[in-house]
Symmetry: C2
Subunit: 315 residues, 2 copies
């Protein structure tokens, strides 16, 4: 069997619901193997059904437990759920974050849930380009929801803003004096705001504060603010209804537009990586000279960057 046949066969079996084949497809995509072009081509006719939902929010807001609660509720509604979880792969954590998830999924013994954890890109938690391609695999394999759970720091927030169909921003109760920061940053990218841990004191007050902040801006005033408790399950059905409603609007844009947006984001990421590499590859002395001229005001960072990008600073 040629590699084209092999890829087509693997994709066909994944699309027919074979879990092991899906696992293999995801692995090939993750490894950026030579099969990637053939796999993507084979998956393409089946794309367009899934809604991709990104979850972000500060550590402590309860992203993992909320995602678990959504999985359970979505299964009750007969929806199939794929999860791409950015797994802190750092030796610091050893990946234990997914322990509960894996146990839960195993207990379900359920073909309607598939969890794949991925190493993050860089200390500040970025999604790999491979993670973005995996959305297609889940979509083509008939999953209704693809949940992307980030670590909620730095790059991961930026990635979610660029990639997901629906962006869910979690807040923890009792934001207090940092409400303004929350408003100015994360609320700008939210399609739905969730105050999780609604069982805790201060949750409702936090939701009201966020609602108040959103109401000040016409284009943000319709962003729903939901209170959920992943523990009791309260509010989770409403959240799923919100995901369905916004997901339907996004799907109406067509799969082409949504995938193009993700592809352009991938180019942007790759370009940024190239910039960083080029700067790192300059000889130390040259790099120092460039920095000095900026510091002295002899050139601007923008002009230096343009030269760098045009390759005129390469040896």
């Amino acid at each position: 069997m040629t590699s084209i046949d092999a890829a087509a066969d693997l994709a066909a079996r994944a699309m027919a619901g074979e879990r092991r084949a899906l696992a293999s497809v995801l692995t090939e995509l993750e490894r950026q193997s030579t099969l990637v072009p053939q796999l993507i081509r084979a998956l393409m006719p089946n794309l367009g059904r899934a809604t991709t939902v990104g979850f972000t929010g500060p550590p402590g807001a309860g992203k993992s437990t909320l995602v678990n609660a959504i999985i359970a509720m979505a299964r009750l509604q007969g929806k199939r759920v794929g999860v791409i979880a950015v797994d802190p792969s750092s030796p610091l954590s050893g990946g234990a974050i997914l322990g509960d998830r894996v146990r839960m999924t195993a207990a379900l013994d359920d073909d309607g849930v598939f969890v794949r954890s991925l190493a993050s890109r860089g200390a500040l938690g970025g999604l790999t380009p491979a993670a973005v391609r995996m959305i297609d695999a889940f979509d083509a394999a008939g999953f209704d929801l693809v949940l992307i759970e980030t670590v909620g720091t730095g790059q991961s927030e930026i990635d979610i803003a660029g990639i997901a169909d629906v962006r869910v921003v979690l807040a923890a109760p009792g934001l207090g004096d940092d409400m303004q920061a929350m408003k100015a940053g994360l609320l700008e990218i939210a399609d739905i705001v969730v105050v999780n841990k609604a069982d805790r004191p201060g949750a409702h007050a936090t939701a009201l504060q966020i609602q108040g902040a959103l109401s000040l801006r016409a284009e943000r005033s319709r962003v729903p603010v939901l209170e959920t408790s992943a523990v009791s399950g309260s509010g989770v059905a409403e959240l799923l209804a919100g995901l369905d409603r916004i997901g339907a609007i996004r799907r109406a844009e067509g799969i082409q537009a949504r995938r193009r947006r993700r592809a352009l984001y991938l180019i942007e990421c790759a370009a940024r990586d190239l910039v960083t590499e080029r700067l790192a590859s300059l000889a130390g002395e040259r790099r120092g000279d460039l920095a000095d001229r900026i510091l002295k005001g002899e050139t601007t960072a923008g002009a230096a960057a343009a030269k760098l990008l045009s390759g005129r600073h390469d040896p």
Copy 2:
């Protein structure tokens, strides 16, 4: 008076301690005015004394109140403190975050504190290049500490990692199930970790968890984990001592190396902005074609990015 004389005069007065002149210098730097090169040159001989401390951490961790407590304690020790506060300038917030700070500073009627708030760059809170130049103004004007307070989301975390001499990462008590995320992300960039709101239940347990996580990695095991209460002031003196200690190590690297690092970071930021602009400036059709070829696996995002950077996709 020529503009060179004007810039030199303004810088000299700022360095002599004239608040109004410092305010003007900061404003010129913020506006990227034509005086910038002359100002920077005039400030240069006086650089090297200040330690730049960046604060990041999730909304709700209490960054503003901690920074206020540090200002008060540093003043008791006779230190002069400049603050660059990323002010959520969005209409959503109206910048009220700084209300307490401004009132406090006014109440002090104190020449040893100077607070400048700045609009953030983008929804996810990035520092402007102007903010980075302002560090020099505070340094040359004799401030011992330059505190950079971010909104703690997305780009601002990445900026702090790239710019500050000492990076302070705040955590809130009771991180619970998101401890692993915290570990893998923010802890990687921290020079000092602070569990603020130490008066709240769970603070000590959170500190112990973080210490445990750090102890697993040799190169991170010496990162101090402090418990502070901005309300009672407990732990703030220890935090200042930590800033002094790490600041002294950084200052020993020399001002040249530290400023070069910041300048290179500015180039990187400018290059990334250029990449984003170039992608946006492609004709819609061309942009769509590029995206489609990536999605079909005919080219990679990296190859597309390289073409984009070389200008070969410009008309």
